[in-house]
Subunit: 463 residues, 2 copies
């Protein structure tokens, strides 16, 4: 297998093949097949996203994949932002369609043509829905599994509120969901308010979650957008307030994609394969029975352990395939399983378990009656992942105060005046694009290029 | 609300609106929005389908929605069967695509272009996968929620085997899954081997699950197909057998759709609304606290019950909305919740629960300490549903032995010689189309039209 440090890009492609996450040999480039193991992981990520959204009183819906040109063109600025990336359905059977239909690139125009039917009065607000669907982009750039694809697994939450203040509170709630989810995934991130020319088409402002990835590039894994009344005015989304007056709603959205999986693979993985945080591991504990004397009893003892773990709601499995233990160890390490139990004759005889953490070399022996501790070990693996990803994050997002450090192979924080001239200058020197102002930071300093007053901002090469 | 008996069609549309299952006011006719409650129900149906499939060692995958014209045209007979129903993507951004891309009408051609990469040797067989995705049909007929739509929620299982016998065994396993699932849904059905001219395009033979629905029509809710080597030969899917020879695989498929939900609505519902079998009820027990003296304590007691039910993995909720109890009763009856708990001052004082079954008029009083019995009451509701749907089935699928009964407003079983002339004759008299021979029936009798030897067959008007 490729060395992650030497050639991240090759390592990344290879690990996806070897762990059987997705198959990119499908006839249409950039549209990949979710293989069983990859699909299980993304479904577990979806389950967490659902949980945190449902806890905050979002309702899940599912809109059609097709959006008519008429729906899209209601918000001109919005559709312009996507027009080069839309797949168009123009024929049904042998007929040319009367009106072209877009494969959704995102669902504003699909949803907001319905909002006026659903939102009538202040008692309908806040209105909070989400869907987990595929969206489509006719990508002309080089595609890469989970990072840049033409069919994208996507979470999109859409909300409407009585006023801007409530919408701003919602923005913070979106960030809270993101905090919970990213904590489960053990991913660090930087919140950056995108410059105006790079915000979501139609938004008042956009905040992105950017994370440094190996390969000296940052990855945008999610975004929240404040729409204010921009869409409401175009799609005529009004509510009757308590005084009987009609007002436009204020709206926000929150988007996440399969890039979350890309981040998990890229940040946590090592030269032995994937490393999965336990909440998204399809198998949290794999039991490998060691062949030899009393093999049948060893398998029985292993099944006993499986039953106990299942009662504790731990996803576990026993590998009885006809391979050597060494092969199985490698295989499950490749698949990123957090804990491995090795059960041989010795473990059978003293009712113990030899336990290997995916993140540590040493093995630990525990007693059968202490099986309840397994969550501690799962958390120990998570802690190891968190520590190393935190270190990676800190090493790869650095503050610089002089231009001669701009070409470091890292994401950089620096003071920037906000002008396009200065960010273009930085990009021309370093190929680092501006990701925006650090969200929530109130410090100020001299722009590294022009010397005018600037805000703390992040620049990086990007995926 | 409409009366189910008098105008089923109106009743059906109204119940979908009132129970908020789906919204058909979307801009593209026949493409409907899954509303939160409807989506929850179909997800619960999906969960059951997944469970039964996974237990039988199927693996879940997810293929891209787009299929190139080249992939589709490998199996000419197959594509011909769909050519009038395919939505075609012909443009990406401002470019005309080099090759047209179809929105999948079904996934044979998508999957089978990959099978030769995945199936190499006999040890790869049986190969069993499924996916739960949307499929697309450019319908020109009148659309109807969950019954005939242009975007269809779909389960499709695809298998490959070393020989025809194994494929036939697989057909029986598909039917076993269907038996488990239909039992959960409390739906009766007739298994019919479709006549050759109505089998799935490319199949050796097709068996459909047809169920009588109100409105004097049958509904095809699922199908299994034996493909033999038909697709394997076109898509070149071969395996190396134990003797080192290359052979074509034998294939089968199994398909289910959102029509399952249509059947549940249509067969079980009554003039008060939906009635849901508990396994697919998003809320299995709804608690309505009765306002009055000690209301706070009543709510606390209700929460206590909620906790206990949740521990038993029962999906439950408490309705604290500012409506009258009567309004709430009607509302949850409309939504088909199997059990309602009414908790007032009396129940509080004697630690009891007044329980109403969705299928019965009388109320039952149980003690708090007997809360464990709740599964019995859920099963009692299921039994009521099963009995009434069985009666409906028996009343609406009748054997007839003379042509003068052909116009009864029911599905009919009769002996038929298998010729198209005779089935066309029956259809011209009665508008009843042939659904095929009764699967597994070996009796024979004189064809009702021509008097030649015939097999027991089912005819019906269809949705």
């Amino acid at each position: 297998m490729e060395n992650k440090k030497d050639d991240f890009s090759e390592w990344y492609n290879e690990i996806i093949d070897l762990a059987k996450l997705s198959d990119k040999r499908y006839a249409i480039k950039g549209m990949n097949i979710w293989l069983p193991y990859g699909l299980k992981i993304i479904h577990l990520i979806d389950d967490l996203t659902r949980k945190y959204s449902d806890e905050k009183n979002f309702n899940e819906v599912s809109f059609p994949v097709l959006i008519s040109r008429e729906q899209l063109e209601v918000e001109f600025e919005h559709v312009k932002g996507f027009e080069n990336e839309i797949y168009w359905v123009t024929r049904g059977g042998r007929d040319k369609l009367d009106i072209d239909l877009a494969l959704r690139p995102t669902s504003e125009s699909a949803m907001y043509t319905m909002f006026p039917l659903w939102i009538r009065s202040h008692s309908d607000l806040p209105f909070k829905i989400y869907q987990i669907v595929n969206v489509y982009r006719y990508e002309t750039k080089h595609t890469r599994s989970f990072i840049r694809v033409r069919e994208i697994h996507f979470y999109e939450a859409h909300t409407a509120h009585i006023n801007y203040e409530d919408a701003e509170n919602q923005m913070r709630e979106h960030l809270k969901i993101w905090e919970e989810l990213s904590n489960d995934l053990c991913i660090d991130y930087s919140l950056n308010t995108r410059p105006d020319w790079d915000k979501f088409p139609g938004a008042v402002y956009s905040v992105a979650f950017d994370t440094p990835m190996p390969g000296y590039r940052s990855l945008q894994v999610g975004t929240v957008h404040e729409y204010g009344k921009n869409f409401a005015k175009n799609y005529d989304i009004k509510y009757l307030d308590e005084n009987g007056n009609l007002n436009y709603v204020n709206q926000t959205t929150f988007g996440l994609s399969e890039r979350l999986l890309a981040a998990v693979i890229g940040i946590h993985g090592d030269d032995r394969g994937l490393i999965l945080p336990y909440k998204i591991a399809p198998v949290q504990v794999i039991i490998v029975p060691i062949p030899g004397e009393n093999y049948d009893k060893i398998v029985n003892y292993s099944s006993d352990i499986i039953n106990k773990l299942s009662e504790m709601n731990i996803r576990c499995d026993i590998d009885k395939r006809d391979f050597t233990p060494g092969y199985k160890f490698n295989d499950w390490e490749m698949k990123g399983v957090p804990l491995r139990f090795e059960i041989g004759n010795k473990e059978l005889s003293d009712k113990s378990i030899t336990l290997a953490l995916r993140t540590q070399k040493k093995k630990i022996k525990i007693k059968y009656e202490n099986l309840n501790d397994v969550y501690n070990y799962l958390n120990a693996v998570n802690n190891d992942i968190r520590n190393s990803s935190k270190k990676f994050f800190d090493d790869n997002l650095i503050f610089i105060d002089s231009l001669d450090k701009i070409n470091e192979d890292k994401m950089v924080k620096l003071y920037w005046c906000g002008s396009r001239e200065c960010s273009d200058r930085i990009e021309s020197i370093s190929e680092k694009a501006v990701l925006g102002n650090v969200y929530g930071d109130n410090s100020s300093g001299k722009c590294m290029i022009c010397g005018r007053e600037g805000k703390l901002s992040v620049f990086s090469r990007t995926y």
